[in-house]
Subunit: 115 residues, 3 copies
Protein backbone atom coordinates (compact mmCIF):
# COMPACT_ATOMS: atom_id res chain seq x y z
CA UNK A 1 0.00 0.00 0.00
CA UNK A 2 1.68 3.16 -1.17
CA UNK A 3 0.87 6.79 -0.49
CA UNK A 4 1.51 9.44 -3.12
CA UNK A 5 1.82 13.07 -2.08
CA UNK A 6 1.80 16.16 -4.30
CA UNK A 7 3.01 19.69 -3.54
CA UNK A 8 4.47 18.67 -0.20
CA UNK A 9 6.26 21.06 2.13
CA UNK A 10 7.18 20.94 5.81
CA UNK A 11 3.59 21.68 6.86
CA UNK A 12 1.26 19.90 4.50
CA UNK A 13 0.68 18.30 1.13
CA UNK A 14 -1.86 19.78 -1.22
CA UNK A 15 -2.93 16.28 -2.32
CA UNK A 16 -2.48 12.84 -0.77
CA UNK A 17 -3.51 9.70 -2.70
CA UNK A 18 -4.01 6.36 -0.94
CA UNK A 19 -6.31 3.33 -1.10
CA UNK A 20 -8.33 4.62 -4.03
CA UNK A 21 -8.98 8.04 -2.55
CA UNK A 22 -7.40 11.46 -2.88
CA UNK A 23 -7.50 13.87 0.05
CA UNK A 24 -6.94 17.54 -0.79
CA UNK A 25 -5.75 20.15 1.67
CA UNK A 26 -8.27 22.84 2.52
CA UNK A 27 -8.04 25.28 -0.38
CA UNK A 28 -8.17 29.04 -0.01
CA UNK A 29 -7.90 31.84 -2.54
CA UNK A 30 -4.56 33.42 -3.36
CA UNK A 31 -6.18 36.74 -4.21
CA UNK A 32 -7.92 37.66 -0.97
CA UNK A 33 -8.99 41.02 -2.41
CA UNK A 34 -11.71 39.11 -4.25
CA UNK A 35 -15.23 38.90 -2.85
CA UNK A 36 -16.73 35.64 -1.63
CA UNK A 37 -17.89 34.63 -5.11
CA UNK A 38 -14.44 35.39 -6.55
CA UNK A 39 -12.62 33.50 -3.80
CA UNK A 40 -14.97 30.54 -4.24
CA UNK A 41 -14.31 30.43 -7.99
CA UNK A 42 -10.56 30.59 -7.46
CA UNK A 43 -10.76 27.77 -4.90
CA UNK A 44 -12.81 25.59 -7.22
CA UNK A 45 -10.32 26.21 -10.03
CA UNK A 46 -7.52 25.08 -7.70
CA UNK A 47 -9.50 21.97 -6.76
CA UNK A 48 -10.02 21.14 -10.44
CA UNK A 49 -6.29 21.46 -11.08
CA UNK A 50 -5.26 19.41 -8.04
CA UNK A 51 -7.75 16.67 -8.84
CA UNK A 52 -6.46 16.51 -12.42
CA UNK A 53 -2.88 16.16 -11.18
CA UNK A 54 -4.09 13.44 -8.80
CA UNK A 55 -5.82 11.36 -11.47
CA UNK A 56 -9.31 12.42 -10.46
CA UNK A 57 -11.89 15.06 -11.35
CA UNK A 58 -14.91 16.80 -9.88
CA UNK A 59 -17.31 14.02 -10.93
CA UNK A 60 -15.52 11.78 -8.42
CA UNK A 61 -15.74 13.94 -5.29
CA UNK A 62 -17.36 11.99 -2.48
CA UNK A 63 -17.19 14.54 0.35
CA UNK A 64 -16.74 18.30 0.53
CA UNK A 65 -16.39 20.47 3.60
CA UNK A 66 -16.93 24.19 3.19
CA UNK A 67 -15.92 26.67 5.85
CA UNK A 68 -17.31 30.19 5.53
CA UNK A 69 -15.91 33.05 7.57
CA UNK A 70 -19.42 34.53 7.63
CA UNK A 71 -22.45 32.32 7.18
CA UNK A 72 -24.31 35.29 5.70
CA UNK A 73 -22.27 34.69 2.56
CA UNK A 74 -23.89 31.25 2.17
CA UNK A 75 -25.93 32.21 -0.88
CA UNK A 76 -23.07 34.05 -2.57
CA UNK A 77 -20.80 31.00 -2.20
CA UNK A 78 -23.55 28.64 -3.31
CA UNK A 79 -24.15 30.54 -6.54
CA UNK A 80 -20.63 29.68 -7.67
CA UNK A 81 -20.64 26.21 -6.09
CA UNK A 82 -23.93 25.10 -7.66
CA UNK A 83 -22.78 26.16 -11.15
CA UNK A 84 -19.55 24.19 -10.72
CA UNK A 85 -21.01 20.91 -9.43
CA UNK A 86 -21.37 18.41 -12.30
CA UNK A 87 -24.98 17.41 -12.85
CA UNK A 88 -25.84 14.16 -11.12
CA UNK A 89 -22.48 13.97 -9.35
CA UNK A 90 -22.79 16.27 -6.35
CA UNK A 91 -20.73 15.22 -3.31
CA UNK A 92 -21.89 14.75 0.25
CA UNK A 93 -21.34 18.20 1.72
CA UNK A 94 -21.14 20.02 5.03
CA UNK A 95 -20.98 23.82 5.18
CA UNK A 96 -20.18 25.49 8.47
CA UNK A 97 -18.93 28.84 9.70
CA UNK A 98 -15.42 29.29 10.97
CA UNK A 99 -13.16 32.23 11.52
CA UNK A 100 -10.44 31.15 9.10
CA UNK A 101 -6.77 30.93 9.89
CA UNK A 102 -5.98 34.14 8.14
CA UNK A 103 -8.81 36.66 8.36
CA UNK A 104 -8.72 37.84 4.70
CA UNK A 105 -9.87 34.38 3.67
CA UNK A 106 -13.65 34.24 3.41
CA UNK A 107 -14.00 30.66 2.16
CA UNK A 108 -12.07 27.42 2.55
CA UNK A 109 -13.01 24.13 0.87
CA UNK A 110 -11.60 20.63 1.43
CA UNK A 111 -12.58 17.56 -0.58
CA UNK A 112 -12.13 13.81 -0.71
CA UNK A 113 -12.50 12.13 -4.13
CA UNK A 114 -11.91 8.72 -5.62
CA UNK A 115 -9.04 8.11 -8.03
Amino acid sequence: MSIKRLHTNARMSQSVIANGFVFLAGQVATDTAKNVAGQTQEILDKIDALLAESGSDKTKIVQATIWLADHQTFNEMNGVWDAWVPEGNAPARACVESALAFPPYTVEIGVIATV
Copy 2:
Protein backbone atom coordinates in the same frame (compact mmCIF):
# COMPACT_ATOMS: atom_id res chain seq x y z
CA MET B 1 -14.58 1.67 -9.33
CA SER B 2 -18.08 3.04 -9.25
CA ILE B 3 -19.63 5.77 -7.12
CA LYS B 4 -23.26 5.57 -6.04
CA ARG B 5 -25.07 8.73 -4.99
CA LEU B 6 -28.43 9.02 -3.21
CA HIS B 7 -30.75 12.04 -2.93
CA THR B 8 -28.65 14.10 -5.31
CA ASN B 9 -29.52 17.64 -6.34
CA ALA B 10 -27.54 20.48 -7.92
CA ARG B 11 -25.75 21.25 -4.64
CA MET B 12 -25.06 17.99 -2.86
CA SER B 13 -25.89 14.34 -2.39
CA GLN B 14 -27.16 13.16 0.96
CA SER B 15 -25.16 9.92 0.61
CA VAL B 16 -22.18 8.95 -1.54
CA ILE B 17 -20.94 5.35 -1.59
CA ALA B 18 -17.47 4.47 -2.91
CA ASN B 19 -14.59 2.08 -2.14
CA GLY B 20 -16.36 0.39 0.76
CA PHE B 21 -17.33 3.61 2.51
CA VAL B 22 -20.42 5.77 2.63
CA PHE B 23 -20.09 9.52 3.18
CA LEU B 24 -23.21 11.31 4.41
CA ALA B 25 -23.85 15.01 3.99
CA GLY B 26 -23.92 17.01 7.20
CA GLN B 27 -27.40 16.44 8.59
CA VAL B 28 -29.52 19.10 10.24
CA ALA B 29 -33.01 19.02 11.71
CA THR B 30 -36.01 19.90 9.57
CA ASP B 31 -37.95 21.15 12.57
CA THR B 32 -35.74 23.93 13.87
CA ALA B 33 -38.30 24.84 16.53
CA LYS B 34 -37.01 21.85 18.48
CA ASN B 35 -34.44 22.28 21.22
CA VAL B 36 -30.92 20.89 20.92
CA ALA B 37 -31.95 17.46 22.19
CA GLY B 38 -34.86 17.34 19.76
CA GLN B 39 -32.76 18.47 16.80
CA THR B 40 -30.09 15.91 17.71
CA GLN B 41 -32.67 13.10 17.82
CA GLU B 42 -34.10 14.13 14.46
CA ILE B 43 -30.61 14.23 12.93
CA LEU B 44 -29.76 10.78 14.27
CA ASP B 45 -33.03 9.41 12.89
CA LYS B 46 -32.10 10.86 9.48
CA ILE B 47 -28.65 9.29 9.72
CA ASP B 48 -30.19 5.89 10.54
CA ALA B 49 -32.46 6.16 7.51
CA LEU B 50 -29.70 7.28 5.14
CA LEU B 51 -27.33 4.57 6.32
CA ALA B 52 -30.05 1.94 5.81
CA GLU B 53 -30.65 3.17 2.25
CA SER B 54 -26.88 3.05 1.70
CA GLY B 55 -26.45 -0.53 2.86
CA SER B 56 -24.94 0.39 6.20
CA ASP B 57 -26.05 1.06 9.78
CA LYS B 58 -24.89 2.84 12.91
CA THR B 59 -22.70 -0.07 14.04
CA LYS B 60 -20.50 0.64 11.01
CA ILE B 61 -19.81 4.36 11.52
CA VAL B 62 -16.08 5.00 11.58
CA GLN B 63 -16.01 8.79 11.96
CA ALA B 64 -18.49 11.39 13.14
CA THR B 65 -18.12 15.15 13.14
CA ILE B 66 -20.51 17.15 15.29
CA TRP B 67 -20.87 20.90 14.93
CA LEU B 68 -22.70 22.72 17.73
CA ALA B 69 -23.87 26.29 17.30
CA ASP B 70 -23.22 26.79 21.02
CA HIS B 71 -20.74 24.59 22.85
CA GLN B 72 -22.71 25.12 26.05
CA THR B 73 -25.23 22.65 24.60
CA PHE B 74 -22.55 19.93 24.64
CA ASN B 75 -24.16 17.94 27.45
CA GLU B 76 -27.67 18.26 26.03
CA MET B 77 -26.51 16.90 22.66
CA ASN B 78 -24.46 14.16 24.29
CA GLY B 79 -27.44 12.86 26.26
CA VAL B 80 -29.16 11.97 23.01
CA TRP B 81 -25.96 10.93 21.23
CA ASP B 82 -24.77 8.56 23.96
CA ALA B 83 -28.15 6.79 24.09
CA TRP B 84 -28.06 6.30 20.31
CA VAL B 85 -24.52 4.96 19.95
CA PRO B 86 -24.57 1.13 19.77
CA GLU B 87 -22.66 -0.43 22.65
CA GLY B 88 -19.11 -1.33 21.67
CA ASN B 89 -19.38 0.36 18.29
CA ALA B 90 -18.84 4.04 18.95
CA PRO B 91 -17.15 5.95 16.09
CA ALA B 92 -14.11 8.18 16.23
CA ARG B 93 -15.63 11.58 16.92
CA ALA B 94 -14.82 15.28 16.88
CA CYS B 95 -17.21 17.83 18.32
CA VAL B 96 -16.57 21.51 17.68
CA GLU B 97 -18.48 24.76 17.77
CA SER B 98 -19.55 26.52 14.61
CA ALA B 99 -22.08 29.14 13.76
CA LEU B 100 -24.13 27.03 11.36
CA ALA B 101 -25.13 28.00 7.86
CA PHE B 102 -28.64 28.83 8.88
CA PRO B 103 -28.85 30.22 12.42
CA PRO B 104 -31.93 28.22 13.56
CA TYR B 105 -29.85 25.06 13.30
CA THR B 106 -28.24 24.23 16.63
CA VAL B 107 -26.59 20.94 15.65
CA GLU B 108 -25.14 19.43 12.49
CA ILE B 109 -23.67 15.92 12.24
CA GLY B 110 -21.73 14.31 9.41
CA VAL B 111 -20.57 10.68 9.36
CA ILE B 112 -18.46 8.24 7.38
CA ALA B 113 -19.37 4.54 7.66
CA THR B 114 -18.39 1.31 5.98
CA VAL B 115 -20.78 -0.48 3.64
Copy 3:
Protein backbone atom coordinates in the same frame (compact mmCIF):
# COMPACT_ATOMS: atom_id res chain seq x y z
CA MET C 1 -15.04 -6.39 6.08
CA SER C 2 -14.29 -5.95 9.74
CA ILE C 3 -14.00 -2.83 11.84
CA LYS C 4 -11.59 -2.66 14.76
CA ARG C 5 -12.13 -0.09 17.50
CA LEU C 6 -9.72 0.95 20.24
CA HIS C 7 -10.43 2.77 23.52
CA THR C 8 -14.18 2.61 23.01
CA ASN C 9 -16.70 3.98 25.48
CA ALA C 10 -20.37 4.89 25.25
CA ARG C 11 -19.60 8.12 23.34
CA MET C 12 -16.71 7.45 21.00
CA SER C 13 -13.72 5.35 20.10
CA GLN C 14 -10.29 6.93 20.07
CA SER C 15 -9.34 4.89 17.00
CA VAL C 16 -11.39 3.06 14.36
CA ILE C 17 -9.69 0.90 11.74
CA ALA C 18 -11.49 -0.19 8.56
CA ASN C 19 -10.76 -0.72 4.86
CA GLY C 20 -7.09 0.14 5.15
CA PHE C 21 -7.61 3.40 7.01
CA VAL C 22 -7.54 4.42 10.65
CA PHE C 23 -9.73 7.29 11.84
CA LEU C 24 -8.72 8.92 15.12
CA ALA C 25 -11.06 10.88 17.35
CA GLY C 26 -10.30 14.58 17.63
CA GLN C 27 -7.50 14.77 20.19
CA VAL C 28 -7.24 17.43 22.88
CA ALA C 29 -4.71 17.97 25.64
CA THR C 30 -5.27 16.50 29.08
CA ASP C 31 -3.31 19.30 30.74
CA THR C 32 -5.26 22.39 29.72
CA ALA C 33 -3.03 24.61 31.85
CA LYS C 34 -0.46 24.33 29.06
CA ASN C 35 -0.17 27.04 26.44
CA VAL C 36 -1.04 26.43 22.79
CA ALA C 37 2.40 25.04 21.99
CA GLY C 38 2.24 22.73 24.99
CA GLN C 39 -1.27 21.51 24.18
CA THR C 40 -0.25 20.93 20.56
CA GLN C 41 2.75 18.84 21.62
CA GLU C 42 0.64 16.76 24.00
CA ILE C 43 -1.94 16.17 21.25
CA LEU C 44 0.72 15.10 18.76
CA ASP C 45 2.18 12.71 21.34
CA LYS C 46 -1.30 11.19 21.79
CA ILE C 47 -1.68 10.86 18.02
CA ASP C 48 1.69 9.09 17.79
CA ALA C 49 0.64 6.64 20.50
CA LEU C 50 -2.81 5.95 19.00
CA LEU C 51 -1.38 5.46 15.52
CA ALA C 52 1.19 3.01 16.91
CA GLU C 53 -1.56 1.03 18.65
CA SER C 54 -3.50 1.06 15.38
CA GLY C 55 -0.68 -0.29 13.26
CA SER C 56 0.15 3.03 11.66
CA ASP C 57 2.46 5.99 12.22
CA LYS C 58 2.77 9.66 11.34
CA THR C 59 4.36 8.98 7.95
CA LYS C 60 1.02 7.46 6.89
CA ILE C 61 -1.34 10.32 7.77
CA VAL C 62 -3.37 11.30 4.74
CA GLN C 63 -5.58 14.02 6.20
CA ALA C 64 -5.40 16.23 9.28
CA THR C 65 -7.98 18.70 10.54
CA ILE C 66 -6.84 21.27 13.10
CA TRP C 67 -9.30 23.35 15.08
CA LEU C 68 -7.89 26.35 16.93
CA ALA C 69 -9.90 28.15 19.57
CA ASP C 70 -8.18 31.37 18.46
CA HIS C 71 -6.74 31.70 14.98
CA GLN C 72 -4.19 34.17 16.34
CA THR C 73 -2.40 31.14 17.79
CA PHE C 74 -1.83 29.81 14.25
CA ASN C 75 1.92 30.45 14.29
CA GLU C 76 2.39 29.05 17.80
CA MET C 77 0.62 25.82 16.86
CA ASN C 78 2.49 25.57 13.56
CA GLY C 79 5.87 25.82 15.26
CA VAL C 80 5.17 22.53 17.03
CA TRP C 81 3.30 20.98 14.10
CA ASP C 82 6.00 21.70 11.51
CA ALA C 83 8.71 20.17 13.71
CA TRP C 84 6.61 17.01 14.17
CA VAL C 85 5.67 16.39 10.53
CA PRO C 86 8.01 13.80 8.99
CA GLU C 87 9.97 15.24 6.07
CA GLY C 88 8.35 14.43 2.74
CA ASN C 89 5.26 12.92 4.36
CA ALA C 90 3.08 15.87 5.32
CA PRO C 91 -0.68 15.17 5.21
CA ALA C 92 -3.37 17.14 3.43
CA ARG C 93 -4.44 19.61 6.10
CA ALA C 94 -7.17 22.06 6.95
CA CYS C 95 -6.84 24.46 9.88
CA VAL C 96 -9.87 26.42 11.01
CA GLU C 97 -11.05 28.30 14.07
CA SER C 98 -13.67 26.87 16.37
CA ALA C 99 -14.75 27.56 19.90
CA LEU C 100 -13.98 24.10 21.26
CA ALA C 101 -16.35 21.95 23.26
CA PHE C 102 -14.67 22.78 26.51
CA PRO C 103 -13.24 26.29 26.59
CA PRO C 104 -9.89 25.43 28.23
CA TYR C 105 -8.96 23.51 25.10
CA THR C 106 -7.06 25.71 22.68
CA VAL C 107 -6.32 23.11 20.01
CA GLU C 108 -7.98 19.95 18.71
CA ILE C 109 -6.55 17.73 15.96
CA GLY C 110 -8.16 14.83 14.10
CA VAL C 111 -6.39 12.63 11.56
CA ILE C 112 -7.01 9.88 9.03
CA ALA C 113 -4.07 7.59 8.21
CA THR C 114 -3.50 4.39 6.28
CA VAL C 115 -2.74 1.14 8.10
